[in-house]
Amino acid sequence: MENMKVLLGLLCFIAPLLSLETDECKEYPNEIILFSFVNEIDIRNCPLTTNEKHFTIIWYKNDSKTPISVEQSSRIHQQKERLWFVPVKMEDSGHYYCIARNSTHCFKTKVTVKVLENEPGLCYNTQAAFRQRLHIAGDGSLVCPYLDFFRDEKNQLPKVQWYKDCKPLPLDDKDFYGAKNKLLVRNVTEEHGGNYTCHVSYTFLGKQYPVTRVIEFVTIGEVKIDRPVIVSPRNETLEADPGSRIQLICNVTGQYSDIVYWKWNGSQIEEDDPFLVEDYQFVEHPSAKRKYMLITILNISVVQSHFYRYPFTCFVKNSNIIESAHVKLIYPVPDFKNYIIGTFVILTATIICCVFIYRIFKVDIVLWYRDTCSDFLPPKASDGKAYDAYILYPKTFGEGPSSDLDTFVFKLLPEVLEGQFGYKLFICGRDDYAGEDTIEVTNENVKKSRRLIIILMRDMGGFSWLSHSSEEQIAIYNALIREGIKVVLLELEKIQDYEKMPESIQFIKRKHGAICWSGDFKERPQCAKTRFWKNVRYHMPAPRQSPLSTHHLLTQDPVLDTKEKLRAETHLPLG
């Protein structure tokens, strides 16, 4: 033992000499300051990492050439590779060097030691605090650092006492549990934060020294992981034409660190995919703080037929949440809306066309209908009328145009309406008897007629006949007021000026218009297909019999006529 001491002493003597002799040691910078508490025992490692063996570590105080003593009785001494302060004194603050050396290499580094006293009224100094962090609501441990130096012979750590804000911490509590160099904290809350101290005692050379470490326990707000929100898509379907180019947009509101990506058929989009390319646009959220709009666009250059089989799913992932939403491509379905609109337009156009056609061909249609459908319709019940129309025409006072009128009234009109279409007309001057009271006849026969046809001519003595002739007055009165008979105006000549006409005629003209004669007055068989005759027939009531049977009936007509006339005759004396 004595020999050993001598040897060590010799080594201590030689070593500095060696260091002076050999080349300069490579110095490593070391910014770490060692904080120690006064009057405590402290043990420090050389911060040079020497993985390789056969390095000798020697400590020096300041720039002293003399190594620190290896005598354990020395207050500051080197034991193995470590520097011991037994105990630390205020004057120990300063620089120390540790030099690592082997046969070929030499490294050194400066170690700054700062000795601290407790802050007034506290059992620690915050300058020496180790900051340790745990998440709120979780479990975790605080560690009393650098206690390995104080392991006993059985390599056991000394018993640690814990204090919070200098008050002893009850261990085995529901919140705290001490184990070796650790303080287990259960269900961390914000109130757990604070300055903790851990104390151990170490006995060296029969004397007990304290060791204190200060821990600033910082609680970290519960990892508030806002659920990222997938704004779009919303598990929807999208119509896409095969072969077309489309974009699927995944819009996520979340944290910058959230990962947004598309998947199809269970796999992510490869960077070399021939049809699918992802594109990214991450912008700060306009309204939410610390949030981002993470837009990931999936460009589909050519929609393939198998793309319809599985949906495209957008995923957003953060540390513990994964959300997804999908878009399923579907083949486009025919647009019913367009069909409906189209149909509606066509229908409207058709209706408008029909209305126009009807307005243009109204007369022909009505006549055609009467011709064709009268056979199928049930025979009309008798309305008690004997004539289809009462013909009211101006009385002629001379020659000239009146012959045309006579031709029309006595020849053309009956030839067409009676001869060809089986109507029965009452024509004054043909169907009445000479000497009969005109007023009486008119009164009687207008009532018996379904229509009142008024023949108009331009030069009829200033049209005064209508206003002056009592016959006409009665006829119009009966037709318009009493019987509600429809009045048909026939202009044999174009009449521009209706001003001079009686009010009633003007009224009828305004209401129903007038049919203007377009042919001549030659006595030849009339073509009933002219517009004039069609218009007249249109205004006439539907024939009581079908035109086919008309011809048969025509033969019977005179009989009927005579019967009628006879009846009129027999009535006469009574009138």
Partner: protein, 178 residues
């Protein structure tokens, strides 16, 4: 764990930059933006990271030493795959095999220049997995090897293939720096 600082490394990186510039950057036009984020890392024994002699060390930083704490810069390339770096992404963590040895290395390369599609960048890829509040990082190039710290303080951060063993810590608290 020594930083590779070869004499020609700058020349090589310049060459690589010129050759692969279009794909090498992790921000090619229109592609997934390179989102480098800083994270505070500390193991479940409360050890933080700091640099000592260009080595990444895990230990307890006292008082004003806290300013030496290294934060991890991370770029997420895939769902779980990340690149890890320090010093603003200028030094990147990689797993390097030399013979039977597997070593964690700090390489002078810009984290944003790494590409997940390049084989030579695979050594920088770590698979990040979470278990409750803690996170583990497994090297993608060295499957089964996890980022770890020694139980003892002030030891280099390294890789272990025995994460269950009690001599190392592979569980880290990993929180985005706010």
């Amino acid at each position: 764990m020594e930083i590779c600082r070869g004499r020609y490394s700058h020349l090589i990186s310049l060459l690589l930059f010129l050759l692969f510039h279009s794909e090498a950057t992790c921000r090619p036009p229109g592609r997934r933006p390179c989102k480098m984020q800083a994270f505070r890392i500390w193991d479940i024994n409360q050890k933080t990271f700091y640099l000592r002699n260009n080595q990444l060390i895990a230990g307890y930083l006292q008082g004003s030493n806290t300013k030496l704490e290294e934060k991890i810069d991370m770029v997420t390339t895939d769902l779980h795959n990340v690149f890890l770096g320090i010093h603003g992404g200028k030094l990147c963590l990689s797993c390097v095999k030399s013979g039977d040895n597997i070593k964690l290395q700090l390489e002078e390369i810009n984290i944003t220049d790494l590409s997940k599609n390049k084989e030579q960048d695979k050594r920088f890829t770590f698979i990040r997995s979470e278990e409750g509040p803690t996170t583990s990082f497994e090297s993608a190039a060295c499957p089964g090897w996890f980022l770890c710290t020694a139980l003892e303080a002030d030891r280099p951060v390294s890789l272990t293939n025995k994460p269950e063993e009690s001599l190392t810590v592979t569980k880290f608290y990993f929180q985005e720096d706010q």
